[in-house]
């Protein structure tokens, strides 16, 4: 509880310092203070080069190329292992002796609840607004390719995880970059160290950005929108909202009040299912519009009129939002999945295939279809509206939906923040060692960025979030290239056992 007290004291201190700016608008002040730095970071990471007149950020090309190479290298593992992945999730191969350990289902569900969320709701709306319906096509394609990236990084995450003497597990790119590359020789060991540190730095940044500020910002925007927009009591009270959320997050990560996190982890899947059902209902109710919507998606993917940058611009938007939604190649999933109980690392790779599939192919497609069908994607709509756009689309069918969506957005945001606070903390302690001071410092900083995120304008937040999250992909994927043969060996051995029936099946399918 002394940690809790430290956290609260710090927060009250921060609040006090903010109040000085009260007469000139606290939100505006914070925004102005942070924006220059945010812009600088963004500019540095998204160094871009022009393709057909569109400035394509290098990191995006980096992600897509890796996903494509992995897909071919593993001979379309994303399609081949689809059925077996389902069998694993369903528990057909559970070892009864390991009952009570983390199952494939639990690892997948936990990873998903850190991923499904604002990316699927706000990100898709932005993509369709800026890139037209055609962006959906490239999003789905990127989702399919991303499955191979997830497969690779999650298999590695399990293979090179650390088990501490007390039984707790630690895993993720930090570990496979160091341990995996070290196996290849001393020079690689050195490179691995550098990549791991770089990854950890970016991961801390990402945990403050896309895993924190973006969540706080978008959930606040939705709250304002649903309580009356500009006229809302909440408008311009972002700092207050930030403080409340920071307090709740603080209770969990500093106060150790696990109950809140546990409740959230139970409600989030329920909200996700509700969201999918509502989306499907709207699509079914407008079944006659579905063919033309798909027509618009496919036509728009190759012939983009009036979209800045033409086809390349559309493709850019689709790929960008897909990557941001499913985080394939970013390395965060490798952390979440590495807790699973299995002695064949590649099994979790198969299970991880389902993450981009559910997150991008299923959920994002549903959102996109709803937006297109209801006509809400009209390009004249302000693209920075984010969640509001999706909310309006659902509202046109179910007038009560914005309230449900608000609850969902708040819960998704909360659960994503809790997950990222854990990813970030693991990276932070990898960098600075594990003791109560480093630990406490990270957590205080995390809470601080909750407040900052709630107070900034969307543009600045999204750019910064993108920058930090995407930066993680550089060290992560570079390391993955070197470790591909390791994964291939695991895969081939396992696949031979699977095909020959040498695996013990504990349940009949």
């Amino acid at each position: 509880m002394s940690k809790l007290r430290v956290g609260i004291t710090t927060l009250v201190g921060l609040l006090a310092s903010f109040s000085v700016f009260a007469d000139i608008g606290i939100d505006e002040k914070i925004n102005l203070a942070v924006k220059p730095y945010s812009d600088a970071v963004t500019g540095f990471i998204f160094s871009s080069f022009p393709v057909a007149g569109v400035q394509i950020p290098f990191v995006l090309v980096w992600l897509i190329i890796a996903a494509t190479i992995f897909t071919f290298y593993f001979n379309f593992i994303n399609l081949r292992a689809f059925k077996h992945g389902f069998q694993l999730v369903r528990g057909d191969y559970h070892d009864p002796k390991a009952a009570g350990e983390v199952t494939h289902f639990q690892a997948l569900a936990t990873a998903l609840s850190g991923t499904v969320g604002l990316g699927n709701i706000a990100g898709v709306a932005v993509a369709v607004s800026l890139g037209g319906p055609g962006a959906t096509f490239w999003m789905i394609l990127a989702g399919f390719l991303g499955m191979s990236s997830k497969f690779t990084e999650c298999t590695l995450g399990v293979k090179y995880r650390n088990t501490l003497p007390d039984g707790t597990v630690s895993g993720g790119p930090m570990y496979y970059l160091t341990k995996g590359l070290a196996e290849k020789g001393p020079n690689f060991a050195k490179l691995g160290k550098v990549l791991a540190v770089l990854f950890a730095v970016f991961c801390v940044g990402g945990s403050f950005g896309g895993g924190n500020m973006f969540q706080a910002n978008q959930s606040f925007a939705q709250l304002v929108n649903v309580t009356g927009g500009e006229a809302s009591l909440m408008a311009d009270k972002g700092w207050l909202y930030g403080l409340v959320i920071a307090a709740l997050v603080g209770l969990v990560i500093i106060g150790g009040i696990k109950g809140i996190a546990r409740v959230t982890s139970k409600i989030v899947p329920f909200m996700a299912v509700t969201y999918v059902i509502a989306g499907l209902a709207i699509i079914l109710l407008n079944a006659s519009l579905v063919p033309s919507a798909f027509g618009a998606i496919i036509a728009g993917a190759f012939t983009a009129e009036g979209i800045s940058g033409g086809v390349i611009g559309v493709l850019f938007q689709g790929f960008k939002r897909a990557a941001f939604s499913n985080e394939a190649g970013v390395g965060s999933a490798a952390i979440a999945h590495s807790a699973v109980q299995t002695n064949r690392p590649v099994t979790e790779g198969f299970v991880a295939l389902y993450e981009p599939f559910i997150d991008t192919v299923v959920v994002c497609t549903i959102t996109a279809l709803v937006i297109i069908i209801t006509g809400t994607w009209n390009p004249s709509v302000d693209p920075s509206a984010g969640v509001q756009l999706t909310s309006t689309a659902f509202e046109s069918a179910f007038s009560w939906f914005p309230y449900v969506l608000t609850v969902a957005v708040l819960l998704f945001a909360f659960s994503t923040m809790i997950s990222w606070s854990y990813y970030g903390l693991k990276a932070w302690t990898f960098l600075f060692g594990e003791n109560r001071y480093t630990d406490g410092t990270y957590k205080i900083l995390f809470l601080f960025f909750v407040v900052v995120g709630s107070s900034m304008q969307l543009g600045a937040v999204i750019d910064f979030s993108d920058a930090m999250i995407f930066a993680m992909a550089f060290p992560n994927l570079l390391g993955c290239y070197f470790l591909l043969p390791v994964v291939k060996k695991e895969l081939n051995e396992y696949w031979a056992d699977y095909k020959s029936g040498r695996l013990v099946k504990t349940r009949n399918s």
């Binding site: 528990g91 009864p96 009570g100 639990q106 569900a109 696990k258 979440a336 809790i418 854990y422």
Partner: protein
């Protein structure tokens, strides 16, 4: 018939009658007796990232506590008496897991105490006893 008995226990105090019954039968027929305790757990529950990473540690703790608090107080006196007794603990759905343990150990008769559930509750949700009676691969005795 070489009988192998298994008694399913909830906690060391609340399963007295079933244990007594099982012990008496084990004494009579010199049968091997397993004392099984299942920690309720589902492979399809939801958990947070942090819980997942600490799950293995927690599981070890849960197993240790189950042995020390539930199994040992029942098994030790019976062992001292000279009976061929062994304790077993596992996570899972209670009825299904007791049956799995029974199958693994070649048990011929499972013994359970009846829980104090109301009739309505038992009818709607099914009690461990009624479920086991439906699924078990060996004889199941429920002691009231």
């Amino acid at each position: 018939m070489t009988s192998v008995l298994m008694v399913g226990v909830d906690c060391s105090d609340c399963s007295e009658r079933a244990v007594e019954y099982a012990a008496e039968h084990a004494r009579e027929s010199k049968a091997r007796l397993y004392v099984a305790h299942v920690i309720e757990w589902s492979p399809f529950s939801f958990s947070t990232v942090e819980e997942n990473f600490e799950r293995h540690k927690r599981r070890e703790e849960e197993l240790k506590r189950a042995y020390s608090d539930v199994i040992d107080p029942i098994v030790n006196p019976l062992k001292a008496e000279g009976l061929n007794v062994e304790g077993l603990v596992r996570h899972g759905h209670v009825a299904d897991t007791i049956n799995t343990l029974a199958v693994e150990n070649g048990v011929t008769n499972i013994i359970l105490g009846r829980q104090g559930t109301t009739k309505l509750k038992a009818h709607v949700f099914g009690s461990v006893g009624s479920r086991l009676v439906q699924v078990a691969d060996c004889a199941v005795t429920v002691v009231p």
